[in-house]
């Protein structure tokens, strides 16, 4: 009864969804990104209940379920806590592979900060110290930090 199926040419239809979004960065996120843009300084926020220093800064602490209103200066250098060298490419990656992702414990913070490392990939490993390299032209974007570099 369904013999005809064998003779059907399977067609495909190409499509793409490109919907523009304009996300409000929020009060806390805006202050963080403006500080990077204008002063090349990384800010965190500290929960007064548990003492955790978050970077990027948060407006609330999910652990204690309280507001956070204390700002803390965070260093632009710290220690790699996790890393991976990426060997494949896709269109959202900011640079061509190979490059690395790292979770970096910046001095003064209690959580890992996710960013990329472009150089000295053969020398990166957990425990190594790295420093932020800021872009010359900054727009208030997470990639105003171009990448982190080994110290």
């Amino acid at each position: 009864m369904t013999e005809w199926i064998k003779d059907v040419e399977p067609l495909t239809l190409k499509g793409q969804i490109a919907v523009p979004y304009t996300w409000w960065v929020g009060e806390t996120g805006s202050r963080f990104l403006v500080s990077i843009r204008d002063k090349q300084k990384i800010l965190g926020s500290k929960c007064n209940a548990c003492g955790t220093v978050f970077v990027p800064p948060r407006k609330n602490c999910g652990r204690c379920f309280v507001d956070i209103d204390q700002w803390v200066d965070i260093a632009d250098e710290g220690v790699i806590e996790a890393c991976t060298i990426v060997h494949y490419s896709h269109p959202v990656q900011p640079v061509k592979p190979p490059f690395a992702y790292a979770l970096i414990k910046l001095d003064g913070a209690d959580v890992g900060f996710l960013h990329i490392i472009k150089k000295d990939l053969n020398r990166i490993k957990n425990g190594v110290r790295v420093k932020a390299k800021f872009k010359e032209e900054r727009t208030g974007h997470i990639l105003d930090i171009d990448s982190f570099e080994l110290i």
Partner: protein, 380 residues
């Protein structure tokens, strides 16, 4: 918890690309097959939960597109956009709140979009998405933390891939049954250190369905009911840097709650077989630790000691797991279905002899941000 049971299950064969079937075709097939398996007709079903993801499907309110195919017309139907274990959890909640029979059906065609782009979309758009991070690179970060913390070698996690692809040879639904060696995994293409191609799941198309019923309806099916003894899920922090990626706290919490419900005291002794969602090889030992089958850092020793192989004390992923077929979202439901087949004694060549209590596990979010644990049994 009131008594509830799984009475009908069905899966498509999982394949790299199902050229001849659209989403609705797959959903219709598994819906009808699950009804046949239960000995039910569509009139016996009084509500439907579909499981799909709008980004993967390329349409919004993607569940609505399979309403007809899932027998949802004139019924209460809604959608879970998350792993199938969570969709099944919602289906169970509906039965516990008064419905008599929920059909839960999950579908995904990984072949039709880009997993890199869609999984990049799960990350924070302001701080993380522009870095290009997605499912594979975030998993690689977790593997790096976990393996460094406990001195786990790449060969140790490669062995998971060897086991699961080998197990898949006994599963007619699996996409990648393979005879491979640790050496094959080690020599496969580097993806994101320490993960290599054969440490990673394939891109898959497929669908699966299950019917969850109350105690009265359970007696009306044609197959032995698979009783739901314990279920729980739990979530942890969103930002990767906030979490200890080597310590799956949400999984530990979900497991403890599910075990308490099911009266499981010593998981390694009380559970006969486990199906866990491991799209990356390192995840299997890490989740086994979170599930309290062993101490932290000792998950890979369970495999080396032969505990988790077929014939061991606790076979893990007799189906071949997600490494052998990973239709995203469907893969978690497949874990429950495989657990149910084991309890029924209908798992064919992959049957664990005498299995009566089985665990199924799934997760949502990068690096297992949220986990769902199921305990099912042949005992009422």
């Amino acid at each position: 918890m009131d008594k509830a049971a799984i009475v009908g299950v069905a899966q498509t064969k999982y394949e790299r690309r199902k050229k001849d079937q659209i989403f609705a075709d797959m959903v219709f097939d598994v819906t009808r097959a699950a009804l046949d398996d239960a000995g039910f007709s569509i009139e016996d079903i009084d509500n439907v939960v579909t499981v799909s993801n709008d980004f993967f499907d390329g349409r919004t309110i993607s569940g609505m597109a399979v309403g007809d195919a899932s027998g949802g017309q004139d019924k209460n139907i809604s959608t879970v956009s998350g792993d199938g274990t969570f969709g099944a959890f919602y289906g169970l909640m509906r039965v516990l709140s008064g419905y008599k029979a929920t059909l839960v059906v999950a579908h995904c065609k990984g072949s039709e979009s880009s997993a890199h782009l869609t999984t990049n979309g799960m990350f924070d758009p302001i701080f993380h998405r522009h870095l290009g991070i997605e499912a594979i690179s975030s998993a690689a970060l977790q593997a790096n933390v976990y393996m460094n913390k406990y001195n786990i070698r790449e060969e140790d996690i490669a062995l998971v891939s060897v086991k699961n692809h080998g197990n898949a040879k006994n599963n007619p639904y699996a996409q990648l049954p393979m005879d491979i060696t640790v050496d094959d995994v080690m020599k496969s293409r580097k993806i994101a250190d320490p993960l290599k191609l054969l440490d990673c799941c394939p891109v898959s198309d497929g669908a699966a369905a299950m019917i969850i019923v109350n105690e009265t309806m359970a007696g009306k099916g044609k197959k032995k009911p698979v009783w739901i003894k314990g279920v729980a899920h739990c979530c942890e922090e969103y930002f990767l840097g906030d979490r200890d990626l080597a310590n799956p706290t949400a999984l530990k919490s979900a497991a403890r709650r599910a075990y308490d419900m099911a009266g499981i005291k010593r998981p390694i002794k009380d559970i006969d077989v486990a199906e866990v969602l491991e799209p990356f090889s390192y995840m299997e030992p890490l989740w086994l630790e979170g599930l309290d089958f062993c101490k932290s850092g000792k998950g890979s020793e369970l495999l080396k000691d032969g505990v988790t192989v077929m014939g061991g004390n606790l076979p893990v992923n007799p189906s071949g797991g997600a490494l052998s077929a990973n239709p995203i979202l469907v893969a978690g439901m497949a874990r429950i279905i495989e657990a149910a087949l084991q309890v029924r004694g209908e798992a064919g060549a992959r049957q664990v002899k005498g299995a009566n209590t089985a665990l199924a596990h799934g997760f949502n979010g990068p690096c297992g941000q949220s986990h769902c644990v199921w305990i099912v049994s042949g005992n009422k």
